[in-house]
Amino acid sequence: EEGASRIVLPGDVVFGLAAQAQNKVLRLGSGLSQDADRVVAIKAGRLNHAKSKLWVEGSQKRYIPSAEDSVIGIVIDRRAEEFLVDLNAPVLGLLPILSFEGATRKNIPNLKEGAVVYGRVVKAHRDISPALSCLDASGKGSGYGPLKEGYLFECSTGLARSLLGTPTYPVLEALGKSLAFEIAVGVNGRVWVKSDAPATTVLVSNAIINSECLSAAQQHILVQKLLQAAK
């Protein structure tokens, strides 16, 4: 199993536990479920195996909340103690009004309907609404919080993960050399871009959206063409 990265579909048996009479610890990540003595894939995607963790990585348009994900949400409503946030997921997220940097009872963030926030999923389970926070685990803001102005667009969850992964996504690297812009990526398939000139924002957004199926070299060429056309 180690190293062999293969495509799985929901229902595929990844391997049978009874056959492996070894005392190894194997952690199951997202996309896998234990069914009595077998491990079964419940998501379509590529099966990855690293260290002692097994997980499925796929690319969907719909986001399924998972703990410790950084997401971009849109505020829908405000309840007594929390904001209701749309995450492009089957359920709305709950963001407590005090989970912001510098928020106290007297100083509550005034987020209206339609406000964009960058937050972290604290707790997620299929039976409950995901709990969010705009503070990191140690209580500091570290980049989370409301995103003012800028432009928000949607992409697939796979592209979002590539934008956040290492090594640096080729399009971002190429754009960063010539343009100045701010960007925030949510693994729920949302990207926020902000820059001084609208033309720059449009160029960056187009470059990212059109780069999903291109190789690194092709992405560099794409960026070159866009920059030249802008001149």
């Binding site: 234990q34 009595a36 707790k123 409950i128 609404s129």
Partner: protein
């Protein structure tokens, strides 16, 4: 034996004088007279020998048994339908040993889940949708639901199904274990007293 029609009483019917009879269950005393307050059969119970009051007691007993309805203080069996951040909703299935004929909704609030550290209760670690719980009715609540409490050792989850689909076994008052996968899941478990103890 008197015929049933003779003994059938309706509310407001005069049963006798307070000087001759005692008002028992299903009847009441007003202005020295005893009236019925229920629809049912009149029963006469002789006074206990040796007691001061020699008057017989009149009782009105209903013919049919009433359907089970939760009352404040009754122990109910319910099935959790929804778990939220500060409360859990449940469908009441039985009142005591009797099944209910119509659906009643109950709510377990965060502060009523257990006795200790009630502000640190995590609803999701206490109940999950589908769990069967034994709870006590605190109050009739509002028009939407009864208020239930599991804040006693013998109240809480009595039966739950794991994510793998098997009925779990209680290992402590906080955890239940799945027999298929050996994984433990957190619940507020009821201490079920068996007849052997």
């Amino acid at each position: 034996m008197a015929k049933r029609e003779d003994d059938l009483r309706t509310p407001g019917e005069l049963l006798g004088l307070a000087s001759e009879f005692n008002a028992g269950r299903g009847s009441y005393c007003h202005d020295g007279k005893i009236y019925a307050s229920l629809v049912g059969i009149r029963h006469l119970i002789e006074a206990k020998q040796g007691s001061d009051d020699l008057r017989p007691t009149i009782e009105i007993r209903r013919e049919k048994e009433r359907d089970a309805v939760p009352e404040a203080g009754s122990t109910v069996t319910a099935k959790i339908t929804k778990v939220q951040a500060r409360m859990a909703s449940a469908d009441i299935v039985c009142v005591g040993p009797r099944a209910v004929k119509e659906k009643f909704t109950g709510i377990v609030r965060q502060q009523d889940v257990r006795l200790t550290e009630i502000d640190k209760v995590d609803m999701h670690s206490s109940f999950r949708p589908g769990d069967i719980i034994r709870a006590e009715v605190i109050s009739l609540g509002d028009s939407r639901a009864y208020y239930l409490s599991t804040a006693k050792n013998e109240l809480g989850v009595v039966s739950a199904v794991s994510v793998a689909g098997a009925t779990m076994v209680a290992v402590s008052w906080q955890e239940m274990q799945c027999p298929l996968t050996n994984q433990r899941e957190p619940r507020k478990v009821a201490k079920v007293v068996t007849s052997n103890e």
